[in-house]
């Protein structure tokens, strides 16, 4: 069936009237500028409570130590808050920063913004990497970062208009806050005409972010083919919740028409050369490798199922017979093909797929026709398999509403799966949920839970608090065994797990739980190296991988880049290189790109040094907030091994064999006994892994960066040293 990609419900008929109702609370003029060698050397700071708007210089030391993006965000947040600040205190800052390489149009995946704030889920800093045009357009108006503090009294928007040289805080009482509407309406309000719409980008969060801690931010990019504001999400950690708590309805940037050299790079030719090489690589190899251009990350669904890694029924199992109903063939057929689906110019990976002409089935937009962005793998796995829902259209429905409501689809998927397992085990029942029957496999029940969360009513008020708080609430109410709830509630540090089963990969258990911000696959994804390719058999090998990859991947967030073009396409000869998992040719591309834009030559060792400084800074930041030690790095047992008899039995042969290898003879033992023995063994293995990783990272046995490590990385600022000394 062919879908019309121009057909959708319009929401902008009243845009002009709604704009007329705006009341300007504060307005300043500014001199737009363009970066030189990737940096503007100035940032923008707004306080919504004090109604102040000011520019500040960015120093050479900031650029040397923190690079940009996530680094700038963390540094500004460090200065904004104190050790006792809570996420909803006015001083909590929300920082959006592209990096020095962001906005180049030649290298795929170069349009990213990094959002940093104090998370309402984890009470430590969260960083979230997001596409869309906002960051690059902000940068080409003249700012390397935007920091927002304070709280407005009523709903406001912040407008940064480069062509008009105007920055304003405007009260905006009438616009719908839900993201697909807000992005469309504000784009129409602040673009001069249709041709100007790609020069506007809107950041928004929907009504769900007002009631739940899992609120995300949507960053728009205008799709000229569809004539629609498409959405990309800064998903993790509740950034949208902070946004709405500040009474922000939207951030609007109106920039200048984009050109290919607005970073004023040191050597455009070097960038163009590696960019064209990557475009050609994607042209030649994507169809043979990951099919990102046709399927996006959804291509992973059946691969994860085949390797027993797809989370099914709250991570109990790793595969399901119904997976073909939501696999990549289904999505390829449903996504509109042949449209440049890059979330920034020059992204030939084009993974930002869209399912057009979808008729909404439930909730406030029932009957409307819309384009659904995605689903991506995480969303398909989390909302789908993990909740036992193997139905394409229910997945499109839940994907649509997660974005519209401003809810992180990863956290929502994991918390919904947790609720469904609690239902399965009798921890929840109709009386406790107010009548909501949360059985695995029910698309309508999942949607009802989401609507309740978004509207802040009924059981949704509890579920919207996230898994960590639900565990406490259920245990406090005496609904279930506290240990079982701890075991099956898939969160670390308060952040819900992303969608991979880590039980059979010790390295990935660390990849999730030894993260700075909580279990998110963008730090380390080592399952294939560990389980399939057997490249890291010893503790030292795993520790080396858990040193290198999280640090390497941090670099993307410092520079405003996407991780996907690094290894979701690989050079044809990559497998024959000495370290294929690192994709060495692409690492060299990044060094070339950095030098081409900033003029500073780096090699792969310097790249790691740059990231390591910021990574350790973030660890010390966690310590400053009372976290960041060994006790905070332990995963729930469901992430480590089989919690229940059924889980053990689903892989009995494997588990029995592992017990034998560990010197324990399982013969004659009951399954329950074997579950206990396996647990003892695996938890001991994890402790050993922590020892090895901390040592390799230059941390103490309690997970605290040593003073020597800080000195080596040039991060021995007195205020950091003071925090570390308190924790030694």
């Amino acid at each position: 069936m062919a879908y019309d990609y121009t057909k959708r419900t319009d929401y902008h008929a009243d845009a002009a009237a709604q704009k007329a109702a705006h009341r300007v609370l504060k307005e300043v003029t500014f001199k737009p500028g363009l970066p030189r060698r990737g940096y503007n050397d100035r940032s923008l700071h707004v306080d919504l409570g004090a109604l102040s708007i000011e520019e500040r210089p960015i120093t050479q030391e900031m650029k040397d130590k923190f690079i940009g993006g996530r680094g700038f965000g963390l540094w500004f947040l460090w200065q904004a808050i104190g050790p006792t600040t809570k996420w909803d205190d006015p001083e909590n800052a929300l920082i959006i920063s592209p990096g020095p390489l962001a906005g180049n149009t030649q290298y795929p995946g170069s349009g990213k913004s990094l959002v940093v704030t104090l998370s309402p889920l984890t009470d430590i800093p969260i960083d979230s990497n997001v596409g869309g045009y906002f960051g690059p357009l902000l940068k080409f108006c003249g700012f390397d970062a935007l920091e927002i503090r304070g709280k407005a009294e009523r709903d406001v928007i912040l407008v940064i208009d480069g062509p008009k040289g105007r920055i304003a805080i405007e009260e905006a009482p009438l616009e719908n806050v839900d993201s697909h509407v807000a992005a469309e309406v504000f784009t129409h309000q602040y673009a001069d005409d249709e041709a100007d719409r790609p020069n506007v980008s809107v950041v928004s969060a929907g009504r769900g972010a007002e009631h739940a801690r899992i609120g995300c931010l949507n960053f728009s990019w205008y799709d000229i083919r569809r004539k629609a504001a498409r959405l990309k999400q800064a998903g993790r950690g509740g950034t949208g919740t902070v946004f709405r708590d500040k009474k922000l309805k939207a951030l609007v940037v109106h920039g200048f028409p984009v050109k290919g050299d607005q970073n004023n790079p040191a050597d455009l030719e070097r960038i163009a050369r590696v960019g064209v090489k990557m475009h050609r690589e994607l042209h030649d190899l994507d169809d043979l490798q990951c099919h990102m251009r046709r399927q996006g990350t959804a291509h992973l669904v059946e691969i994860m199922d085949a390797y027993d890694l797809l989370p099914v029924h709250n991570f109990q199992f790793g595969s399901h017979p119904d997976t073909p109903k939501i696999d990549s063939k289904v999505w390829e057929a449903r996504f509109t093909q042949g449209i440049p689906d890059g979330c920034w110019y020059g992204c030939s990976m084009a993974c930002c797929k869209g399912a057009d002409e979808f008729k909404i089935m439930t909730g406030p937009y029932k009957g409307h026709v819309n384009t659904v962005d995605g689903p991506e793998y995480e969303t398909a796995a989390g909302l789908g398999a993990n909740c036992g829902i193997f139905d394409r259209d229910w997945l499109l429905e839940s994907t649509f509403y997660c974005d519209v409501y401003g809810l992180d689809s990863i956290s929502f998927g994991t918390l919904c799966a947790f609720c469904m397992e609690c239902w399965q085990r009798g921890i929840l029942n109709k009386e406790r949920t107010g009548g909501l029957e949360l059985a695995f496999g029910s698309g309508p029940a999942q949607m009802e839970l989401m609507h309740q969360i978004a509207e802040g009513r009924d059981f949704g008020l509890i579920a919207g608090q996230g898994v960590m708080r639900m565990k406490r609430i259920f245990a406090d109410k005496g609904w279930g065994d506290a240990q079982l709830l701890r075991d099956i509630g898939m969160e670390v540090k308060g952040l819900e797990y992303s969608q991979y089963v880590s039980k059979e990969s010790l390295a990935q258990q660390g990849g999730f739980a030894l993260t700075n911000k909580g279990p998110q696959h963008d730090e380390a994804w080592l399952i294939f190296m560990d389980m399939v390719n057997k490249q890291i058999p010893t503790f030292e090998d795993k520790a080396e991988a858990l040193f290198y990859f999280p640090i390497f991947r941090t670099w993307f967030g410092l520079n405003g880049l996407c991780k996907l073009p690094w290894n979701d396409v690989e050079p044809a000869d990559n497998a024959s290189t000495p370290e294929p998992a690192k994709v060495p040719e692409h690492v060299r591309n990044y060094c070339e790109l950095f030098a081409g834009i900033t003029g500073r030559e780096i090699d792969e060792h310097e790249l790691i040094r740059m990231s390591r400084g910021v990574y350790n800074f973030q660890r010390v930041f966690n310590l400053r907030m009372g976290r960041g030690r060994r006790e905070h790095d332990r995963p729930p047992y469901r992430a480590v091994g089989p919690v229940t008899v059924e889980e053990y039995e689903s892989r009995a042969e494997r588990y029995d064999k592992q017990l034998m290898e560990a010197g324990v003879d399982p013969t004659g033992k009951s399954v329950q006994e074997k579950v206990g023995l396996t647990r003892k063994h695996r938890e001991a293995q994890y402790e050993k892994l922590m020892d090895a990783v901390y040592k390799r990272r230059g941390w103490t046995a309690d997970g605290v960066p040593t003073l020597e490590t800080l000195r080596e990385l040039g991060m021995d600022f007195p205020e950091l040293v003071a925090v570390v000394e308190k924790n030694l």
């Binding site: 000229i224 050299d261 475009h279 110019y345 030939s348």
Partner: protein, 134 residues
């Protein structure tokens, strides 16, 4: 539409076509500025020149590549953001870029190279463009 076609049997690799093209497009007469490249492959000429297939039109994120009424694919420079995806994705490797010019460039079937070829190895051939991407 008119499509430029080369005859390897007649070409003697004098590259006069490339110089003529560079003069028209960039007021230079060097090969890197030409939208037509003729390379010797095992002693025989191989032509890299746009066949106006239009696959680049769907690749372009800004709508800068369009099929004109004549059928020829043209680049609107004011819309181009120099991402070079069209360069990387051209099936016949005949979308080009030069170091000193931001937008890429391609054959516009102007015929100057045809006139410049001393051997008569190039011709503009009329072909239908119905059904091709636009």
């Amino acid at each position: 539409m008119k499509v430029l076609v080369g005859d390897p049997g007649k070409c003697t690799l004098k590259h006069a076509c490339e110089a003529a093209c560079a003069r028209v497009l960039h007021k230079k007469d060097d090969r890197p500025h030409s939208a037509l490249r003729v390379d010797p492959v095992e002693g025989r000429p191989r032509f890299h020149v746009c066949n106006q297939c239009g696959e680049c039109i769907a690749i372009c994120p800004t709508g800068a590549l369009v099929r004109a009424k004549s059928g020829v694919v043209l680049l609107k420079k004011d819309k181009c953001v120099a991402c070079y995806m069209c360069v990387g994705f051209c099936p016949s490797l005949s979308m080009f870029r030069a170091e000193d010019a931001l937008p890429p460039f391609k054959c516009i079937s102007c015929g100057n190279c045809v006139k410049a070829c001393p051997e008569g190895a190039l011709a503009l051939v009329e072909q239908p463009h119905d059904g091709l991407p636009s």
